[in-house]
């Protein structure tokens, strides 16, 4: 079940991005994304967990770039979400491999997929808000967000140094 969900997520992520890029005439990027999808599926089969991280970074970067060049936001969010789900499922399948064959993992898989579906729905709803409500970035908003970003990055750096 998890592998089927993983394949669906990869297809959803890579397919959405590829479709949007191809629609705008970026055939090379679209083909590159399809190659990435094939490699991702192959890596999933080969249990190369590290590849999922690279594929997630590439997919989110291309989704962000797509937003910047004003491709359809729906496809971009769908692409990023698909990549996130595939990345999550890769790690989940890695953890499942620790279990011996005799363990009944179906309840565990069912609960995981249910949780993932809820998170996806919530994520889509949250992502739709800025798409539907076009907010103007006033100077105060920019300052506030910059402050939050700087504080966040500082916290992140201090956390990493503590580790």
């Amino acid at each position: 079940v998890s592998y089927f969900a993983f394949v669906t997520s990869v297809l959803m992520g890579v397919g959405s991005l590829s479709f949007a890029y191809a629609g705008r005439g970026f055939d090379l990027v679209a083909r590159g994304l399809l190659v990435l999808g094939v490699l991702w599926l192959f890596a999933g089969k080969q249990r190369w967990v590290w590849f999922s991280t690279i594929a997630l970074l590439i997919s989110v970067s291309l989704a962000a770039f797509g937003l910047w060049i004003e491709l359809s936001p729906g496809w971009m969010i769908s692409g990023a979400l698909g990549a996130l789900l595939a990345w999550d499922l890769t790690d989940f399948m890695r953890r499942l491999r620790f279990a011996p064959l005799m363990d009944d993992l179906r309840p565990l898989e069912r609960r995981h997929l249910t949780r993932l579906t809820i998170v996806t729905v919530v994520g889509v709803l949250l992502a739709s808000i800025p798409m539907l409500v076009r907010l103007e970035f006033t100077f105060e908003w920019i300052m506030l967000l910059t402050l939050v970003a700087v504080l966040g990055v500082t916290q992140l750096v201090s956390w990493l140094r503590r580790r």
Binding site: V60, L84, P100, M102, P107, R111, R115, A127, M131, L145
Partner: protein, 428 residues
């Protein structure tokens, strides 16, 4: 790269990109990732509170015997979405059935039990802690905990029951046993005659001898049988035990030592064990079943060692052995050991050498070609010469070809003498 770090990095990059381009849609892209991350933190596992019991079907087993391990885990803390349990034991043990590892979901107050079967070679194995790792479903946060539950499994060397081993020490202990003490008194075997003393049982009176003397009664004296001190020395030196292609005689030496210890203790003797090899491992002498257990535990842990300090037998600490006691060395022997053994004999110890035959052992694995046979003959002659020299020094030597069962060899060479020879006080 940690999953949390990766997600935070992406979220902040999108946030910064949104600020740089003044595009709110970047925030929209970051929100699903943020939701995923926050759910991970929200559902992060709390501190684990597990109660673990482990039971082992048998704490003492024979090599390659199946031992069933049962583990019971109860969750006394909060619900755990994903819990990986892994029982910790030595890698030398082989899992024959089941699995020591399980992945499950455990709610508050729930319990989970499982069994698995292990087996292994001779040794002492500790089952240490149960490793528990709890995660939320996203795997963002986890909590790892080692629950200490200690069990021990001893896989003892295979034991061959020996009925009786004849030893004659120059000094015995005060307790009655089976070893002739070379002293008159109560016993079974005839020892001599002495004048009848009041209190002697009338059936001890030797009427024939008394008839030859006027007014004097003579009584039979019997040889007292007592227990003795026996020191077993197990040679664990690599240079004497290991041969080409990783073959070793050590397991045979351990088997012989275990069987001898069992037999000597069954006869009521006080037995100690010295494992001589990597270091000195001395099991203090004692009697009975407790001592048997101690010696078997020491033998379960016994390994060969290549310490340069103990490469020769000259560092055997003779002060450990009571004066004039019986010393039994179990060793394939090396040419350099001759002088040390003769010196030990000269100090008054009764020495017995049980020597698994290394020549026959090695030849059994070599091709039967003329050069090998010639080399075998030369080495055989050298070994025979060594054994002859030991025998001439008054050392009892038992050359054991391991192709023959140990108990049969012992019965033939060191078993009780036939009644005919017993009457004349010994064996040929």
């Amino acid at each position: 790269m940690s999953r949390t770090f990766l997600l935070i990095l992406i979220i902040y990059s999108l946030l910064l990109a949104g600020l740089a381009t003044l595009n709110g849609e970047f925030l929209g892209l970051a929100l699903p990732l943020l939701a995923y991350l926050l759910v991970g933190f929200w559902r992060a596992p709390e501190k684990l509170d597990l109660e673990v019991h482990r039971t082992i079907s048998s704490e003492r087993a024979a090599p390659d015997e199946d031992v069933v391990v049962r583990v019971d885990v109860s969750n006394r803390g909060a619900d755990i979405e994903e819990l990986l349990l892994e029982d910790g034991f030595s890698r030398a043990l082989t899992v024959r059935d089941g699995s020591p590892r399980h992945l499950l979901s455990l709610k508050k107050g729930e319990s989970f039990s499982w069994t698995y079967t292990v087996s292994g070679p001779r040794g002492g194995y500790a089952f240490e802690a149960l490793k528990a790792e709890a995660r939320d479903h996203s795997g963002i946060r986890w909590s790892s905990h080692q629950v200490p539950v200690r069990n021990e499994l001893f896989i003892f060397p295979p034991l061959t029951r020996l009925k009786y081993i004849t030893i004659r020490t120059r000094r015995t202990r005060v307790y009655s046993g089976t070893i002739p003490a070379r002293m008159g008194g109560t016993g079974v075997e005839f020892f001599g005659l002495r004048e009848y003393q009041p209190g002697d049982p009338p059936r001890w009176i030797n009427w024939r001898a008394s008839a030859r003397h006027d007014e004097t009664l003579y009584a039979n004296e019997f040889q007292q049988e007592r227990v003795a001190d026996v020191a077993l020395v197990l040679d664990g030196r690599e240079k004497t035990n290991w041969f080409r292609d990783g073959r070793s005689l050590f397991e045979h030496s351990v088997l012989a030592t275990a069987s001898l210890a069992d037999a000597f203790l069954s006869q009521g003797n006080r037995v100690g064990l010295l494992h001589y090899g990597r270091y000195l491992d001395w099991t203090f002498p004692g009697y009975g079943k407790v001592q048997r257990e101690r010696i078997l535990q020491a033998l379960a842990h016994a390994q060969t060692g290549g310490s340069p300090v103990f490469s020769g037998l000259e560092h055997i600490p003779v002060r450990f052995f009571p004066v004039h006691s019986q010393v039994v060395l179990v060793s394939p022997l090396h040419d350099d050991d001759l002088d040390t053994l003769i010196q030990l004999r000269a100090r008054g110890y009764q020495i017995m050498v049980i020597s698994p035959d290394p020549v026959a052992f090695e030849l059994a694995y070599l091709p039967r070609v003329p050069s090998v046979e010639l080399a075998g003959r030369v080495v055989r002659m050298e070994r025979n010469l060594l054994l002859k020299k030991l025998q001439r020094a008054g050392i009892q030597v038992l050359d054991w070809n391991i192709a023959h069962p140990f108990d049969q060899v012992i019965k033939h060479r060191l078993g009780p003498p036939p009644p005919l020879f017993r009457a004349v006080g010994g064996r040929l």
